[in-house]
Amino acid sequence: MSASIRLNNLCKRYGQLEVLRGIDLDIPAGQTVSIIGPSGSGKSTLLRLLMTLDRPTSGEILIDGESMWTDAQGRAMGPNSAHVRRVRGKIGMVFQHFNLFPHKTALGNVMEAPVHVAGVPRDEAAQRAREYLELVGLGDKIDAYPAQLSGGQKQRVGIARALAMHPEIMLFDEVTSALDPELVGGILQILRDLAAKRTMTMIIVTHQMSFAERSSDRTLFFDQGNVVEDAESSVLFSNPREARTQQFLQSVIEAV
């Protein structure tokens, strides 16, 4: 099951700094969307807002038509309110720096939320956690602590940990940026496989242009807190409409 996302005039300011300047966006359930753009353009901030890690300055986020920060009566809700927690429960996130729990094994990391949030019995949660770790190719590392794992392996645990809560929406925040180059391919392959199943709405902030082009339905180009261009991935990369997009893609290609 997957959920749709709608953003209405979404703004985020940190003090004087305007990070998101009124984003309007519609993402249908099951779509895989890549977000590209220069650093500081607001890509990661958008994911943070979608994950409820930050509250919008103004504007609205709707998940399956339901407002994230206000209840059905239009009252503002706190981050620990039942309403926000219910909406948040539909969303999962994988982080650039993994953010694994260092005091827990790979299995412990994946089991934590199913046991303590979803209330799944330990045995069942352990069994399912093993399956998720096998799915991401870590079946032989279930008892390893994060410190004993490579970056790529840590990120696999991060993906398994998020998947174990069956999110309807998955957010990937530059999940390959902290990895050694030879480990990037494996993680992208997992993302590709997940996208192909179409069981989740996926938003992927990435600097891997070829991945965005070939493996996502749609790509957004962000610059200075705005969505500058929003198109089918193949179109955006082969035939960018906006001068700013062309310039960005040009500079990225030259860097390779």
């Binding site: 994950m51 409820t52 890690l53 981050p79 620990n80 927690r85 948040r88 429960g89 969303i91 999962g92 996130m93 982080f95 720096h97 953010n99 694994l100 729990f101 260092p102 005091h103 827990k104 934590e112 939320a113 303590h116 949030v117 602590y145 994060p146 410190a147 940990r161 998020a162 809560m165």
Partner: protein, 223 residues
């Protein structure tokens, strides 16, 4: 003329000092238990988002840390009974030690809690964990092991503060040695023994804390 240090006399008073030492150790262990638990509670309450809880807790911690332990002890000893609370002098002393050191421990815990990276909290939020589960399952297991040495220092410091209990009539080690001194007019042996006993137990406590520290290392994990 009697010798400066009479070994036979020292040997003779050792049992009396030993039984007083039991009181001292009891006060330290129970006081530290109270300090470690109450300190953690204070540290967590201080971080609660609701200001009407966190602000008074912050004031309480500052107040306790900024007033002398001896004053607090006298206050509990003389004022508490007037409000109808009856406690033995030893229990009063343990309460005073525990509350006083809880305020210090709360600051130590706070340092530990603040050293846990933000990303850990964000991961917990992303997994939809409750505030309680985030604290117990994610933050504290990473916050406490690194601060055990600092807590251990306070254990030793509290141990050395137990002679203050003599001010509220508890017959602990120092008080016992003074009683011996005043009845025999010999102070050298009892006071020397008090010093030696404090030294020995401080060393034992420090060793115990180091053991605990290395045992805890297997839990905190490395980032």
């Amino acid at each position: 003329m009697s010798p400066v240090f009479d070994w036979a006399f020292a040997w003779e008073i050792l049992p009396a000092l030993g039984s007083a030492l039991v009181i001292t150790v009891q006060a330290t262990v129970l006081g530290m238990l109270l300090a470690v638990v109450l300190g953690l509670a204070l540290a967590m309450l201080r971080r609660v988002r609701l200001r009407w809880i966190s602000a008074p807790v912050a004031v309480l911690i500052e107040f306790v840390r900024s007033t002398p332990l001896l004053v607090q002890m006298y206050f509990l000893f003389y004022v508490l009974p007037q409000s109808g609370v009856q406690m033995s002098p030893l229990a009063t002393g343990i309460l005073a030690l525990g509350v006083h050191y809880a305020a210090y421990c709360a600051e130590v815990y706070r340092a530990g809690i603040e050293s846990v990276p933000r990303g850990q909290l964000e991961a917990a939020t992303a997994l939809n964990m409750s505030a309680w589960r985030t604290a117990v399952g994610v933050v504290l297991p990473q916050a406490i092991p690194p601060v055990v040495p600092a807590l251990g220092n306070y254990l030793v410091a509290m141990f050395k503060d137990t002679p203050l209990l003599s001010a509220i009539t508890v017959v602990e080690l120092l008080q016992q040695s003074k009683i011996i001194g005043s009845t025999t007019f010999r102070y050298t042996e009892p006071l020397t023994l008090v010093g030696v006993l404090f030294l020995l137990l401080s060393l034992v406590a420090a060793w115990g804390v180091r053991r605990l520290e290395s045992w805890l290392k297997q839990f905190g994990g490395t980032r």
